[in-house]
């Protein structure tokens, strides 16, 4: 008997798109269920675009965008957002850098003013640069150097899988490179990549479309037009043979391993890519998933397990090349070879025997909950739609994702699993240098 299937619901967030004369693309998605708004500006430049000898520069530059701009002193941005009752941040990804605020809706015009001002030009000074190099070094110490498993696997696996600088290098950056960064580098980076033709503005939440459109034209309309730079070709061939490395983490008490396989182009071959997004969840989502049942409960060779798309866990906001990752933490003295062999066995079994009754449907229902839950946050909608507009010209895809995920078939999952062969795999092992 076929398992009862939960109907996958969808959201109907409206989407308004337009482009200003200067080339800035805009997405509006009103929702008046709470008196809050999300504002996001996404620039089409990320870790992959930073120059050799300047590792970590895209992220350092993100910090510099908060250090004052044409009409704003240092510290003013933070104070104006928070003094309006809002929160802010920015983040640097492989293919884009975002800047965003969540605010009570009476602060819409202020947020637009703040973003437009730094789009015209940040205040790049030697003093601010040195200060933020120090801050970024402390960020790297907190997140990478002073803790166990720092940068695992998002900084440790790309150099194993990839050969070219854009895809392989450390996106947080070396201290040497960070310290050699200059104001001239920053000015050049801004000129090249922070063109309004290279940006998307998205506003979500408690806004009136006509009013918001007028305000956007008022504040962004006179940002000087500059075209988007041509995006370089970052493609690399798939692996022809297995790759594997290991490193000792002096702070890690237990061993760990992460593996990655290349997947189809998430943008140009979305239909081919989507089954891998679902496959990762079939393998690892919760106690009823295949790999958790086998490795954690039956074999006890693993104590923690994760599976996801993209080195930064970004299934729908990354371009090619990207990967499906499996990551496992092992018990003391655990056998990494055995874990990798079991990955292969389970993938084989899935490709050969297919899924059990209801296995796919329940995984899809759970994925729908996760996707819907993310869109409930007003900022989540602005950020997601901005990136979907930038990379796919399709911000409305956000509304469709739960159903598209729900449309992936057993056969597609089996076919996807069949491609995750050991000879296409790149793995990195953490040797527990801190074992007691």
């Amino acid at each position: 008997m076929a398992a009862r299937r939960s109907r996958i619901p969808a959201t109907k967030y409206p989407v308004e798109r337009f482009t200003l004369d200067n080339g800035l693309r805009v997405v509006l998605t009103p929702d008046r269920s709470a008196p809050v708004i999300g504002v996001a500006v996404v620039y089409d430049v990320g870790i992959r675009s930073e120059p050799e000898g300047r590792t970590g520069f895209a992220h350092l530059f993100e910090h510099l965008m908060f250090q004052g701009s044409e009409n704003l002193e240092k510290l003013a941005h933070f104070r104006h957002v928070q003094g309006a009752g809002g929160t802010f941040n920015g983040s640097t990804h492989l293919d884009y850098t975002d800047y965003f605020e969540t605010l009570p809706s009476n602060a819409l015009e202020r947020a637009l003013f703040l973003e437009a001002d730094r789009m015209r030009g940040p205040r790049l000074t030697e003093e601010n640069l040195r200060n933020q190099v120090d801050v970024v070094k402390e960020e790297i110490r907190v997140n990478v150097l002073n803790r166990p498993y720092g940068g695992f696997p998002w900084l440790k696996l790309p150099p194993v899988m990839f050969d070219t600088f854009p895809n392989a290098h450390d996106g947080y950056g070396s201290f040497d490179d960070l310290e050699s960064a200059t104001v001239a580098d920053a000015a050049d980076f801004f000129r090249r990549y922070y063109a309004c033709g290279n940006a998307v503005l998205a506003v979500s939440g408690d806004v009136d479309v006509a009013e918001a459109t007028g305000l956007i034209e008022r504040h962004f309309g006179d940002v000087p037009a500059r075209p988007a730079p041509a995006r370089p070709d970052f493609t690399e061939p798939d692996l022809a043979a297995e790759r594997r490395t290991a490193y000792t983490d002096p702070l890690a008490p237990l061993p760990a391993v992460a593996s990655a396989w290349r997947v189809p182009d998430p943008v140009s071959d979305f239909a081919g890519y989507l089954p891998y997004v679902v496959l990762a969840e079939v393998l690892t989502d919760g106690d009823a998933s295949r790999l958790v049942e086998r490795l954690v409960q039956r074999d006890r060779t693993v104590t923690g397990l994760g599976g996801y798309l993209g080195f930064m866990g970004d299934p729908f906001d990354v371009r090619d090349p990207t990967a499906l990752l499996l990551q496992a933490h092992l018990p003391p003295g655990g056998d990494v070879d055995k874990v990798l062999r079991t990955f292969d066995e389970e993938l084989d079994r899935l490709a050969t025997d297919g899924l059990t009754d209801g296995e796919l449907a329940r995984t899809q229902a759970r994925m729908a909950t996760h996707l819907l839950r993310d869109t409930d946050a007003v900022l989540g909608r602005a950020l997601r739609m901005a990136v979907l507009e930038q990379q796919r010209d399709d911000p409305g895809l956000l509304n469709e994702l739960p159903r598209l995920v729900g449309g992936v078939t057993d056969e597609q999952i089996r076919a996807a699993a069949a491609t995750l062969r050991p000879e296409r795999r790149a793995s990195v092992e953490v040797v527990a240098g801190g074992a007691r």
């Binding site: 398992a3 939960s6 619901p9 959201t11 929702d31 269920s33 008196p35 809050v36 044409e70 009409n71 240092k74 104070r79 104006h80 928070q82 003094g83 309006a84 009752g85 809002g86 929160t87 605010l103 009570p104 809706s105 009476n106 602060a107 819409l108 202020r110 003013f113 015209r120 040195r130 120090d134 801050v135 960020e139 110490r141 907190v142 002073n146 803790r147 166990p148 002096p250 008490p253 919760g286 106690d287 009823a288 954690v296 409960q297 006890r300 104590t303 923690g304 933490h329 018990p331 003391p332 995984t363 229902a365 759970r366 729908a368 909950t369 819907l372 839950r373 409930d376 007003v378 007691r436």
Partner: protein, 443 residues
């Protein structure tokens, strides 16, 4: 630079804080059910808060790890799969105040989620093989936590400020966990997992009355005598030398400063919350602007008030570069002292006030945020109506009120300071500023 200066746009009129539609009922078995309507997405959030003070530490932690391991009718795998079918999931967590079961799912699956929840509450079996696996996973997790500086600093701080109070130790040792047997878990479940004093919160695309009805149908059969386990009040902070916990080779120092605080309902609370924002509670605070944006000593300093059933405490935390550990402490004490000694500027207070009021709105604007807020309030005997009351208090706190709260609660003379770092490299820097007592990590 362009000619002329552009003016910062003014804010529009403030929208009144609106508490969403809700329903509440206390069932015959003592369980309180609160349902709140936010229909934005077709989901429902679930939080079940059960008082769990004074429970055996290792058994409590293991119970939270294994409560979803099986019932008379379902194995652990079946529980997970049945929940997944309705887009649901449940997880358990524990702290010295409560055991919490939380999750979210498609709203069409609410009845099924409640049914499975009831099955777990009334019939968790703690099967021996599953308990063994989960016990080892918990041990591994504790070992990983013990290698993290933030955890070690927190552990040292709790021990220092709570002494012999149950809050002093919140993570069991691996050996204590290994000694927990399934029979002990079943006993603890029978003694403590009961509806009296528990609060179930449901938030989402629901009609509140009907959601409460659904909870009553599913959970009326959950019974059991309530065992009172009152926590003694948390002890007042006792000042003393800076406690330096050695972590050889550490490339940063974890600075933790504890200061006195008051519960949410205390007349000083709103003014204290504002004083905390001015000091270190948000990015535009004096502490962050000083040690991050001016001096570059740290990435993310932050201070916040932690409310627990037995008391409240203000904790300021920063990870600072080893070579500037002394200077970072100096600036921290300077900023505390300045706020405790001199009144804040009116515009500085206005900025913090707007932030406090605005983030109340933001916190209520998602199902998950609303559920967590409702549950945290309910666990401390409050309801969402308190939001409006609190907003009113924030709105009318004066410069004098905030200055008085800062003098009373943020005075560096009342601070208890713990620092985890490479003692060889930082002890001299610290000893130049304050008396230091040095101990090894884990002692």
């Amino acid at each position: 630079m362009s000619v002329g200066v552009r003016e910062l746009p003014a804010l529009g009129p403030t929208r009144q804080l609106k508490v969403p539609k809700q329903a509440e009922r206390t069932l015959g078995n003592g369980l309180t059910v609160i349902a709140v309507r936010r229909p934005a997405v077709p989901l429902v959030e679930l939080r079940l808060w059960m008082p769990f003070g004074r429970a055996h530490l290792a058994r409590g932690a293991t119970l939270a790890q294994t409560i979803l391991s099986g019932t008379a009718t379902l194995t652990a795998t079946q529980i997970a799969a049945e929940l997944q079918k309705v887009g649901g999931g449940l997880s358990a967590g524990i702290d010295p105040d409560r055991l919490m079961l939380s999750g979210a799912g498609l709203v069409t699956g609410l009845d099924r989620m409640l049914e499975i929840l009831a099955d777990v509450l009334t019939g968790a079996t703690y099967p021996a093989d599953w308990v063994q696996t989960e016990r080892e996973r918990l041990v591994d997790r504790i070992q990983v936590a013990q290698s993290q500086p933030a955890h070690l600093a927190r552990t040292a701080l709790l021990k220092r400020i709570y002494g012999r109070h149950p809050y002093a130790v919140q993570t069991p040792e691996p050996d204590q966990v290994r000694a927990v047997r399934p029979a002990a878990l079943r006993r603890l479940h029978a003694e403590r997992v009961h509806p009296a004093g528990a609060v179930l919160v449901l938030v989402g695309d629901v009609q509140p009355d009907r959601a409460v009805d659904a909870a009553e149908r599913a959970l009326a059969g959950w019974t059991g005598p309530g065992q009172e386990a009152e926590l003694p009040p948390a002890p007042p902070l006792e000042t003393g030398p800076l406690l330096l916990v050695d972590r050889p080779g550490s490339v940063q120092s974890s600075l933790r400063v504890a200061l006195p605080a008051v519960p949410r309902t205390h007349p000083d609370h709103a003014a204290l919350q504002l004083a905390n924002l001015l000091f270190g509670g948000y990015f535009s605070s004096r502490w962050t602007e000083n040690i991050r944006e001016d001096k570059g000593y740290t990435y993310g300093p932050h201070s916040g008030i932690e409310h627990s059933v037995a008391g409240s405490v203000l904790v300021a935390a920063a990870e600072v570069a080893t070579e500037v550990t002394g200077p970072a402490l100096l600036e921290t004490m300077y900023e505390l002292g300045r706020l405790a000694s001199l009144p804040p500027k009116p515009d500085e207070l206005e900025q913090a006030r707007q932030y406090a009021l605005g983030t109340l709105q933001l916190g209520m604007s998602t199902q998950a945020g609303l559920a967590s807020l409702t549950s945290a309030y309910a666990g401390n005997g409050l309801r969402l109506d308190f939001l409006a009351e609190h907003a009113a208090r924030l709105a009318k706190a004066t410069v004098d009120d905030v200055a008085a709260a800062a003098a009373r609660y943020l005075a560096p003379a009342r601070a208890v300071t713990v620092l985890l770092g490479d003692a060889e490299r930082v002890e001299g820097q610290l000893a130049a500023l304050t008396p230091v007592q040095r101990v090894a990590a884990g002692s």
